[in-house]
């Protein structure tokens, strides 16, 4: 047909990407991302333990990686991911009891997870550096 009309402009159902990013939504996404990162981070734990069980030379290899800039960045990220995923997990456990779903509660919980994970990570690293600098 020559005079076929273009499809009518009908409203589409809401799509994920039209939503304004919200803190609770970002925390949910970050919880999954940190979980995925920690999954592969266990390789670092396994490497550390196997090296310790193998030889002083192998253990020194882990040490030189950890002491490198790249190693420090990875370890810092791992620390934050671990703490963040743990606090996010506690949040999920609170939700499992049926509590914490109110508009203010869930905003507060999301903020507490973020502030808590960043500050705890910094505390752990300050303590870590004090330990390294301390007498052995």
């Amino acid at each position: 047909m020559a005079d076929a009309k273009a499809p009518a402009e009908r409203p589409l159902s809401p799509h994920l990407f039209i939503y304004k990013p919200m803190l609770t939504m970002m925390m949910s996404i970050v919880h999954r991302i940190t979980g995925g990162a920690l999954y592969f981070g266990t390789l670092l734990v396994a490497w550390w333990l196997i090296a310790a069980a193998s030889s002083p030379k192998a253990y020194a290899g882990v040490g030189s990686f950890i002491n490198s800039f790249f190693g420090r960045v990875i370890l810092f990220g791992y620390t934050w991911a671990l703490v963040h995923h743990m606090l996010g997990g506690i949040r999920h456990l609170i939700w499992d009891t049926g509590r914490g779903f109110g508009p203010h509660e869930r905003e507060w919980l999301a903020m507490a997870t973020l502030v808590g994970s960043i500050s705890l990570t910094i505390v752990i690293w300050i303590v870590g550096y004090l330990f390294i600098g301390g007498p052995r």
């Binding site: 995925g36 999954y39 266990t42 396994a46 333990l49 310790a52 997990g89 870590g128 330990f131 052995r136």
Partner: protein
């Protein structure tokens, strides 16, 4: 099926739906999550306490019974938890059946390999001391 058996296969699957075993992984994920809280805190404390120490000291501390037991519990709980978590991620995003199957198998292999290797290393450290 026997010739005279007039019952449908339905009765063999009745009661095996979500209410029976479907919540197993959901529950196990919560169980390991609860266990992970104290174990992760202990793990971080152990790692911080071992920073900068020489190999001999690390071997001795990691191999001591209390630390080794905590580390073993940490490894078992964490690898169980992460296997279920990654399975959920794969099931959410991978819709091609063949690829999903391969990734689910790889996921289990990875979790078991990391868990066993770590546990074996801890046991080696324990019995070496």
């Amino acid at each position: 099926m026997a010739f005279r058996d007039m019952s449908t296969p339905l009765k063999h699957v009745r009661g095996l739906g979500p209410a029976k075993s479907g919540t197993e992984q959901f529950w196990r994920q919560r169980l390991t999550a609860i266990a992970n809280v104290p174990l992760v805190i202990a793990f971080v404390l152990i790692v911080v306490a071992l920073l900068g120490r020489n190999h001999a000291a690390v071997v001795q501390i990691l191999g001591s019974p209390l630390i080794a037991i905590i580390m073993l519990l940490f490894i078992i709980s964490v690898t169980t938890h992460m296997r279920i978590g990654m399975q959920v991620i794969i099931e959410d995003y991978v819709h091609d059946e063949a690829r999903k199957f391969i990734l689910l198998i790889a996921n289990t292999f990875f979790a078991v390999a990391v868990g066993l290797a770590s546990a074996f290393a801890i046991l080696m450290l324990s019995f070496k001391v």
